[in-house]
C-alpha cells in the first residue's frame, strides 16, 4: 500500500502533463492502438473500451497553457475550454488522438465538433446526441440507435467490431470503476479531513488518461491509503460545489476553498466518472443497458434536460441531505450557458429549503484566488457561526 502523497504526486504529474505522455505511451505500446478523445460531461466510455481503444478525457488546457491560436476562433464572450482545446490541438498536443467525441452539452461544444471536422479532417469527429425525452420507447429507442451508430464508427476506426460479449466485459470494468469512485466520494463525505478534495480531484482526473483497469487500481490504492492516514480533523464547514461539470476550475481554486475553511463533501467536477449512479446491467443487450442507465439512473446536471419542472433542483437538495452538507458554493465557468442559466433556478430551490449558498465564476486559468478565499472564507464563517 502506498501513502496518499505518493499516489497524489503521481496523479498531479499526469494532470500537469499537457503532452499526455501516458496516453502516447499506451498507444505506442501496441501497434494499431487507437485513442478516442472526448469532451465533458459524458460519453459511453464502455463502447470505446470494447472496441479496444483508449477513452481519453480532454478537459481543456488548465492554467498552464497559454492560449494564442485558440482565441482567434472565438468571440470574447465564449468560455475558455474550447479555446484551450483548440490550442492543444493546433500545437500538436493531441496529435495521437484518432477520433473525437463531442457530447451534447452546449452550443459551443456542438459547434466545436463541426470545427474539428474542418480543421482536422483526418480525425474522426462525432457529435454525440443524448436523449431529451426520458420515455424508454422514445428516448431509449433513440439513444440505443445513437449508441449503435457510435459502435459502428468505432469499429471502423479500430477495425475491431465490439461484440456484445466485449461490451458486457467493458460494462463490468466500468461498473467496478464506478463502484470505487462512489466509495471514494462516500469516504470523503464521511471523513473529509482524510481525503481532501484537491487530492480526490487529481485521483479522479487521472481516470481521464488511464485505462480503466489501471485507474480502478489507483482508486483502490488511494482509498486504502486515505483510510489509513492520520490527519487532524478541522472545524470546517461542509459544502457542495456545483456548476463545474465542464470547464474545470484551476486546482488552486479547489485548494483555496478548502484553505478558507470548507470541506467539499460533494462536487460535479468529474461527472463522467460517475454519470451512472449504480451498476449498468451486465446481462442482456448491452446497448439497451447503457441507454436504460442513461434514462433511469444518470446523474443530474444543468446539461441534462429535466422534463418535470417540479423536480428541478431537487437533486441538489437531496445531495445536501445525503452528504450532511451545510451549504452550496455555485462555482461556474465564466460564460457557461448551462451552468449559469440553471443557477438561479437551483438557488431558488435551495432558498426554499433554507440552504445557504454563494456563487462565483472562474475560468480554467484564473490566477487570483484572494476573492475566492474571501468569499469562501466568509461563507464558511457564516455557516459555522450563524446557521
Amino acid at each position: 500500500m502506498s501513502d496518499t502523497a505518493a499516489i497524489v504526486a503521481q496523479c498531479e504529474a499526469m494532470f500537469e502533463d499537457l503532452s499526455f505522455t501516458g496516453v502516447r505511451a499506451w498507444k505506442a505500446a501496441v501497434p494499431g492502438r487507437k485513442v478516442v478523445g472526448f469532451m465533458p460531461f459524458y460519453v459511453p466510455r464502455e463502447l470505446i473500451h470494447a472496441a479496444g481503444a483508449l477513452p481519453f478525457g480532454i478537459l481543456g488546457g488548465g492554467d498552464q497553457l497559454e492560449v494564442i491560436h485558440g482565441d482567434a476562433y472565438y468571440q470574447s464572450y465564449i468560455c475558455r475550454i474550447p479555446r484551450s482545446t483548440i490550442e492543444l490541438a493546433v500545437t500538436g498536443k493531441l496529435d495521437m488522438v484518432d477520433a473525437m467525441l463531442f457530447p451534447s452539452i452546449c452550443d459551443v461544444i456542438r459547434n466545436l465538433s463541426g470545427m474539428w471536422k474542418i480543421m482536422f479532417p483526418k480525425v474522426k469527429a462525432r457529435y454525440l446526441d443524448v436523449p431529451q425525452n426520458f420515455r424508454a420507447d422514445i428516448g431509449g429507442t433513440f439513444y440505443r440507435g445513437e449508441l449503435g451508430e457510435l459502435r459502428a464508427m468505432l469499429a471502423e476506426l479500430t477495425g475491431k467490431p465490439a461484440t456484445d460479449d466485449d461490451l458486457r466485459a467493458s460494462i463490468r470494468a466500468y461498473n467496478a470503476n464506478r463502484r470505487l469512485v462512489r466509495e471514494v466520494y462516500a469516504f470523503r463525505a464521511a471523513e473529509p479531513w482524510k481525503a481532501p478534495s484537491s487530492e480526490v480531484y487529481l485521483v479522479m482526473r487521472a481516470g481521464m488518461v488511464l485505462p480503466v483497469e489501471t485507474h480502478s487500481k489507483l482508486l483502490a490504492d488511494y482509498l486504502a491509503a486515505a483510510k489509513a492516514s492520520d490527519r487532524p480533523k478541522r472545524d470546517n464547514s461542509r459544502i457542495i460545489v456545483s456548476g463545474a461539470f465542464c470547464e474545470q476550475p484551476p486546482l488552486n481554486l479547489i485548494k483555496s476553498i478548502e484553505l478558507a475553511g470548507c470541506y467539499i463533501v460533494d462536487d460535479d467536477f468529474m461527472l463522467v466518472n460517475r454519470w451512472e449512479q449504480s451498476d449498468v446491467a451486465e446481462q442482456g443487450d448491452p446497448l439497451a443497458a447503457l441507454a436504460d442507465s442513461y434514462l433511469r439512473d444518470s446523474a443530474d446536471t444543468a446539461a441534462k434536460y429535466e422534463p418535470d419542472q417540479a423536480r428541478k433542483g431537487r437533486y441538489l437538495v437531496e445531495l445536501v441531505k445525503k452528504r450532511g452538507a451545510e451549504g452550496v458554493i455555485f462555482a461556474a465557468p465564466s460564460f457557461c450557458d448551462p451552468a449559469l442559466l440553471e443557477r438561479p433556478m437551483l438557488q431558488r430551490v435551495l432558498a426554499s429549503h433554507d440552504i445557504p449558498y454563494i456563487a462565483f465564476k472562474y475560468a480554467e486559468n484564473s490566477g487570483q484566488m484572494q476573492p475566492i478565499r474571501e468569499q469562501a472564507g466568509t461563507f464558511a464563517d457564516s455557516i459555522k457561526l450563524w446557521s
Binding site: 487532524p232 478541522r234 484553505l259 475553511g261 466568509t378 464563517d381 459555522k384 457561526l385 450563524w386
Partner: protein
C-alpha cells in the same frame, strides 16, 4: 471554563492570545505580539504560540480550540480558521461593546467592518491594493526620516502645519515626502500629513461601509498610533460621521481575541451537537 487560543497571522506581526472563556465572560490568560521581520511567519506563529502556552504552564493539548485568523489557515495545528473580518468584528465588540464598526488598520490593508450587536458582519469595505494607506508604508517613511516607530504618534501630534500626501499611490506619496524633506518641512508635519491622508481614506471607507449607530473601534497595529487616532477623529468630523473613534491598548489583539472567542463558541456548539447526536 474553556481555554481557547487565537492566532492572528498578519503581514507585519503575529498576535497570539490565550483566553479562559466561561459563557459570556472571558479572561486573558496570556498574549503576545511578535513582529515578523523577514522570518517565516508560520514557523514564527507556531513558536510564539508554544512560548505563550509555556508562559502559563499549558501545552497545545490543553487548549480546547486553537483558532487561526489572518493568514494562519496553513498552520497545521489549528482546530478551525475564521476570516479576519469575522474575528476583528468579534474582538472589537469584546473590547468595546458600543462599537458597530471595526476599523482594522494593519501593515497591508485598511478595512471597515460593520457589525450588529452580536458581532455579525453586515458589510465591509477594504482599501484597494495600493499600500499608501497601510502601516507598512508609514513604517517605511518613518525609517527614511530616521524616526523610531513608537515616536511616530507623539511627533505627529506636535505638528503645526501638516501637508497631505497622495492617498492613492504609495509611490506618489513617497515622492511627496521626498519633496517635503528637500523643502525643509519638519518630520512632525510630514508625519501628520501622512496620518491625515490615511485618515481621509479610512473615513471614506467607514462611510461606504455604512455607519448608522454605535462607535468606530480601531483595531490592528496602527490603532496604537496616537497620531493616526487623532487624525481619524479629525477626518470623522470632516466626513460628518456621528460615531466616536475608540481604541484600546489591546487593539492590536482584536483579531486574536475574536478568533479565541469564536473558537470558544464553536467548541460549545460542537459539544452540544455531539450530545444531541449521542442522545
Amino acid at each position: 471554563m474553556t481555554v481557547t487560543a487565537g492566532i492572528d497571522v498578519g503581514t507585519g506581526a503575529i498576535k497570539v492570545a490565550v483566553l479562559d472563556v466561561a459563557g459570556e465572560q472571558a479572561k486573558v490568560l496570556a498574549k503576545r505580539v511578535e513582529r515578523v521581520r523577514q522570518r517565516d511567519p508560520l514557523k514564527l506563529a507556531a513558536d510564539t504560540y508554544d512560548q505563550v502556552l509555556a508562559e502559563i504552564g499549558l501545552k497545545r493539548g490543553d487548549v480546547a480550540y486553537a483558532a487561526t485568523t489572518g493568514e494562519g489557515e496553513a498552520l497545521a495545528f489549528h482546530t478551525g480558521h475564521f476570516y479576519s473580518m469575522t474575528t476583528h468584528a468579534r474582538g472589537a465588540m469584546w473590547l468595546c461593546p458600543e462599537a458597530r464598526i471595526a476599523l482594522d488598520v494593519g501593515a497591508l490593508h485598511g478595512r471597515a467592518i460593520r457589525m450588529d450587536g452580536r458581532g455579525k458582519v453586515l458589510a465591509y469595505k477594504m482599501t484597494s491594493q495600493c499600500a499608501s494607506g497601510s502601516g507598512q508604508f508609514l513604517e517605511n517613511i518613518a525609517r527614511y526620516l530616521g524616526i523610531a516607530q513608537d515616536e511616530i504618534g507623539a511627533l505627529s501630534r506636535q505638528a503645526d502645519n501638516p501637508e497631505r500626501v497622495s492617498g492613492i499611490c504609495a509611490v506618489l506619496a513617497e515622492t511627496d515626502v521626498i519633496n517635503m524633506v528637500s523643502r525643509g518641512i519638519s518630520a512632525a508635519n510630514i508625519l501628520k500629513g501622512i496620518h491625515l491622508s490615511m485618515a481621509d481614506r479610512l473615513a471614506k471607507l467607514v462611510k461606504t461601509a455604512g455607519v448608522a449607530e454605535g462607535d468606530i473601534f480601531m483595531s490592528g497595529g496602527l490603532a496604537l498610533d496616537s497620531g493616526l487616532v487623532a487624525a481619524m477623529e479629525e477626518a470623522a468630523a470632516k466626513e460628518k460621521l456621528k460615531a466616536r473613534i475608540r481604541c484600546n491598548p489591546d487593539s492590536i489583539f482584536a483579531g486574536a481575541f475574536g478568533a479565541a472567542l469564536w473558537g470558544a463558541y464553536r467548541h460549545d456548539k460542537l459539544a452540544r451537537l455531539a450530545e444531541r447526536q449521542a442522545a
